[in-house]
């Protein structure tokens, strides 16, 4: 869910959207927002699964340090989605989903 109105930050002025896909599903998300945030806004909380035990992981530190939120972005694995902004036609995949 996006926060459109806020007592301190006011109304959201950035209403420009871009198109992305996440695991093949098309989504329209707010331009310039970080990938992890754009996914959270659409209820997607799992970014990757661990290699050994296949446990889900989501955004944890939000500042590019913990690497829990890495995903496959435009074919490149291990992209830290909390500090990488969305771009038009970005193809995003849950890492190690299967």
């Amino acid at each position: 869910m996006y926060i459109t109105d806020h007592p301190i930050l006011g109304a959201e002025e950035n209403t420009e959207m871009v198109n992305i896909t996440v695991d093949g599903v098309p989504l329209r998300v707010r331009k310039g927002s970080m990938i992890a945030a754009a996914l959270l806004a659409n209820g997607i909380k799992v970014n990757r699964y661990t290699l050994k035990h296949h446990e889900p992981r989501g955004v944890f530190c939000g500042i590019g340090q913990c690497t829990d939120c890495v995903m496959i972005v435009n074919g490149q694995p291990n992209v830290r989605t909390c500090i990488t902004p969305v771009e038009e036609n970005m193809v995003i995949m849950t890492q190690n989903k299967d």
Binding site: M1, Y2, I3, T4, H6, P7, I8, L9, E12, R30, S33, M34, A36, A37, A38, L40, A41, K45, V46, N47, E55, P56, R57, G58, V59, F60, C61, G62, I63, G64, Q65, C66, D68, C82, I83, T84, P85
Partner: protein, 371 residues
């Protein structure tokens, strides 16, 4: 590609930017390297008004201080590489940087600089309870970033673990964003942060669970958080049986303090010490923010976790010291500026919280830290 600069600053947060401004405005050739899309560090998530004196932006919101710093940095003539990560610091003051070029491609550059400031900030601590890795459990600062910077709800029903100032302020900011905060859990017998912050969330009806800790988090079939359980602590700080309480929440925030991010300083062999009051292991510095390795400086949370105002003054101190050692500032003028900043820093380290930090900082400068 090898790039030469007089000064390289790693991290464009409050400490890095103020250092860049001080050094660049007297003519130093400064390069700031930051791995984010926008500089400013953690200032933009701090939407609250700052405390302190007028000299320290009292009454100004952190995000507005951030905007001013960005403007001043631009005017200073300092160069900034964004989306660029320093991956190593090697002999001869050489930095390896994965730089994002204007066309979006990434290139590895080597930056050699006479003076290097490491201002990489800090990282949140966590608590390793059962279920702490479930998506929906995150750092309080992470939730704050999602809400205030990205304007996204990380959850709708939340439990805050930790009642220090971060825990209290983020709880309030979650309420402002429309998130239901079901409680603040604190292991100590009293609230750890300032009463003024605690009062705001008390008035909003948020209960405090003192002498309690989180013991368990559960996921639903989608693998994300749906429930958290807390328990009372006995006199040995162990959970007491039959005191469990569960909350249906999809967000658990952990506010368990921060620790300095100093991997690059470690890599370069900078002398470290363990200082619990400032977050644990950290690179040590002298009264000019220079480490035991000549030409390598630290400032801000990297040099001991405090807050944005102290980070900005430490950055200024480092920037002026760097300019002085590059002979861009006459000694007398530099010493006078530094004395003023040191006095300001001392005035920020007052009160029950600040005094411990002041004493710890004095131990560092007087080289009384156990290595």
């Amino acid at each position: 590609m090898l790039v030469n600069r007089q000064v390289a600053i790693i991290g464009g947060g409050p400490a890095g930017l103020t250092a860049a401004i001080e050094a660049a405005k007297v003519g130093a050739q400064v390069l700031i390297i930051d791995e984010n899309a926008r500089p400013g560090g953690q200032l933009f998530k701090q939407i609250h008004k700052f405390f302190g004196s007028k000299a320290h932006n009292a009454g100004v919101r952190g995000m507005d201080i951030g905007l001013n710093l960005l403007k001043e940095t631009e005017e200073s003539g300092a160069e900034t590489w964004l989306n660029s990560t320093v991956i190593g610091l090697y002999e001869g003051n050489r930095l390896s940087v994965v730089r994002t070029m204007e066309d979006g491609s990434k290139k590895i550059h080597t930056v050699q600089a006479e003076k290097i400031l490491i201002a990489t900030g800090s990282q949140e601590n966590t608590i390793n309870f059962d279920g702490w890795t479930i998506p929906g459990v995150m750092g309080a600062g992470c939730a704050q970033t999602m809400i205030n910077v990205n304007r996204v709800m990380p959850g709708t029903k939340a439990l805050m673990v930790g009642s220090g100032n971060v825990g209290l302020m983020v709880s309030y900011q979650m309420l402002q964003a429309g998130i239901d905060v079901l409680g603040v859990v604190e292991a100590a017998p009293k609230i750890s942060g300032y009463n003024v912050h605690a009062a705001k969330i008390c008035r909003a009806g948020v209960p405090f669970y003192l002498r309690h800790t989180i013991i368990h988090a559960e996921a639903d079939e989608s693998g994300t958080l749906c429930r958290a359980t807390i328990a009372a602590l006995d006199e040995k700080w162990n959970p007491s049986p039959n005191t469990e309480q569960s909350f249906d929440v999809n967000l658990v925030c952990i506010a368990a303090g921060l620790r300095p991010l100093a991997k690059l300083a470690q890599m370069y062999g900078v002398e470290h010490g363990f200082i619990p009051e400032l977050g644990g292991w950290m690179p040590l510095h002298d009264e000019n923010m220079e480490t035991n390795i000549q030409g390598i400086y630290v400032a801000g949370d990297t040099a001991g976790v405090e807050e944005a105002n102290t980070a900005m003054d430490e950055g200024r101190l480092a920037g002026i010291s760097i300019a002085q050692s590059l002979q861009l500032l006459p000694d007398q003028e530099a010493e006078q500026c530094k004395a003023e900043i040191r006095a300001r820093l001392e005035s920020l380290r007052l009160g029950p919280f600040g005094e411990r930090r002041l004493q710890a900082k004095n131990r560092i400068v007087k080289k009384e830290v156990q290595l």
